[in-house]
């Protein structure tokens, strides 16, 4: 489903961020991408939703070859990739439900379907009762659940999470990881970048460990 081959990324010759990264992900797999700050986790995530292009190497996601994908097709790739960030990235003047519905609106789904799916996903992540609140009225944990709901609601090929627990306390972090697990059981493929190696290990899933831009470990 996801194939990353010999990826290199550098900003100028003297500053390589990723070197020779190769890995694959199967459909329905949940993988942790671990490493210290500056190891290249976020850069790798950005390459996977084409926020940036690799300096060399190839990335294939489902039917998309990211190296040759024309610029105008990028939105269509992104509809197949749900992304969750540390800072939630919710639109401030839209309610939680409207933020989630946005992902369905941009793909032109009918209104009835949007309402139904938004309700289902908000119930799944446990914030249906907060659906009419604006991001500033939500706690960090609730905002991250809304962001996760938005990433999941279109049933993308893969969900990418970049330090999703970075702004959460321990209890909320555990709840969020449990939610990822729940969503993974429903069949979604998930790649979570986190510096919390110990927490990742607790889930007994595959771990890709980055050090200084190199893939040091690929273990289950």
């Amino acid at each position: 489903m996801l194939e990353v081959e010999n990826i290199h990324k550098s900003y100028g010759i003297a500053h390589p961020v990723l070197s020779g990264i190769t890995f694959g992900m199967e459909k329905g797999e949940m993988v942790f991408l671990t490493g210290a700050s500056g190891a290249g986790k976020s850069t790798l995530i950005r390459l996977l939703y084409l926020e940036e292009k690799p300096t060399s190497g190839t990335i294939r996601l489902g039917p998309y070859d990211l190296n040759t994908l024309p610029r105008r097709r990028i939105p269509f790739l992104r509809r197949q990739v749900g992304v969750v960030f540390q800072d939630f990235r919710l639109i401030p003047d839209r309610t939680a439900a409207e933020n989630v519905a946005l992902a369905l609106e941009v793909v032109g789904r009918p209104g009835m379907e949007i309402r139904k799916k938004t309700e289902d996903i908000l119930r799944l992540v446990g914030i249906w009762n907060k659906k009419d609140l604006y991001p500033r009225q939500l706690s960090g944990g609730e905002a991250q659940r809304a962001a996760l709901a938005r990433a999941v609601v279109t049933e993308p090929l893969v969900i990418l999470a970049d330090e999703p627990t970075g702004n959460l306390d321990n209890a909320n972090s555990i709840e969020l990881f449990d939610l990822f697990k729940k969503i993974n059981i429903r069949g979604s493929s998930i790649l979570i970048a986190t510096h919390e190696v110990a927490m990742a290990e607790e889930y007994g899933r595959r771990i890709l460990h980055l050090e200084n831009g190199r893939l040091k470990e690929d273990r289950t």
């Binding site: 992104r78 990235r89 919710l90 401030p92 933020n99 992902a103 941009v106 938005r150 279109t154």
Partner: protein
């Protein structure tokens, strides 16, 4: 329908966030479009005046006395043979006085002891005599007749009117181009502020797979609405002003509905173009 609703909601959000700036832009676009609009109306009315003037334009040949009927016929033939003369009519001094009475009323001629108006020939002319040198040649030719005292032809005035119209048209074009640029700039600036204000929302939309058109539509529509509203306000203002001037000063003909629609369309397109300039430059999509 849903897309239209979404665009309207997004426009509403942008206006709510930048209400004062949006109103300021609307006012500025209105003022900017009023100037070329007014010049358009002036130029249009002068061109109409020129047409009306041309329709009634005649060359008047004033005589020293009343010629005999035979001589009148001879002169008529001679005048009719001149280049650019399409019709010749004799006007006796009696007829001239009668005409004057008709135009200015009985009081005007009541005190006159004798008729001061000379007999004349009224010559209708074609376009070739709108050219002053050609008119001068014919005037000189006619003046050679011994009975002729004076030849009066308003070609100079027509020529001056033509120059004025041409100058106003050039001014209108120049100001129009300047105003078009400034309207585009003003709208672009407002839309740029709206884009900056909505940057986070735009980034998130891009993240969830919104296409370029999906993101641009509300901003371009906002620009179009600002341009259209500014042009609409300018058209209303000019309509009322034309009515006022017509009632109190001089008759002004307001452009017809098609011209007004063209004016509104220009406003709409300028606004949309301004928005495209702003979004193209400030949104990397």
């Amino acid at each position: 329908m849903r897309t239209l609703f979404r665009i309207m909601v997004e426009i509403g959000r942008s206006i709510r966030h930048e209400l004062l700036s949006t109103l300021g832009t609307l006012l500025t676009v209105f003022l900017a479009l009023t100037v070329p609009g007014a010049l358009w109306i002036i130029s249009d009315n002068l061109a109409r005046t020129e047409r009306e003037f041309k329709t009634g334009l005649t060359m008047d040949v004033f005589l020293t006395g009343e010629p005999s009927p035979e001589r009148i016929e001879e002169i008529k033939i001679y005048l009719g043979s001149q280049s650019g003369i399409t019709n010749v009519k004799y006007l006796s001094s009696e007829e001239a006085l009668y005409k004057m009475r008709e135009i200015f009323g009985l009081d005007m001629v009541k005190g006159l002891e004798e008729n001061p108006l000379p007999a004349s020939f009224v010559l209708e002319v074609d376009q070739s005599l709108y050219d002053p040198p050609a008119a001068d040649r014919v005037k000189a030719e006619i003046s050679k007749l011994p009975e002729v005292e004076d030849v009066v032809f308003a070609s100079e005035m027509l020529n001056r009117l033509k120059h004025i119209i041409r100058s106003i048209k050039i001014l209108w074009l120049a100001i129009g181009i300047l105003v078009a640029f400034s309207a585009v700039f003003i709208v672009a600036n407002t839309v740029r502020v709206a884009v900056a204000d909505r940057r986070k929302a735009v980034e998130i939309m891009q993240l969830v797979g919104a296409t370029r058109n999906y993101i641009l539509a509300p901003f371009v529509s906002l620009g179009g609405i600002l341009g259209l509203s500014g042009a609409g306000l300018a058209a209303l203002f000019l309509g009322f002003s034309s009515g006022f001037v017509s009632r109190h000063l001089v008759k002004v003909v307001f452009p017809d509905i098609y011209d007004v629609m063209a004016f509104l369309l220009i406003g709409l397109l300028l606004g949309m173009f301004g928005a495209l300039v702003a979004t193209g430059k400030h949104l990397k999509i």
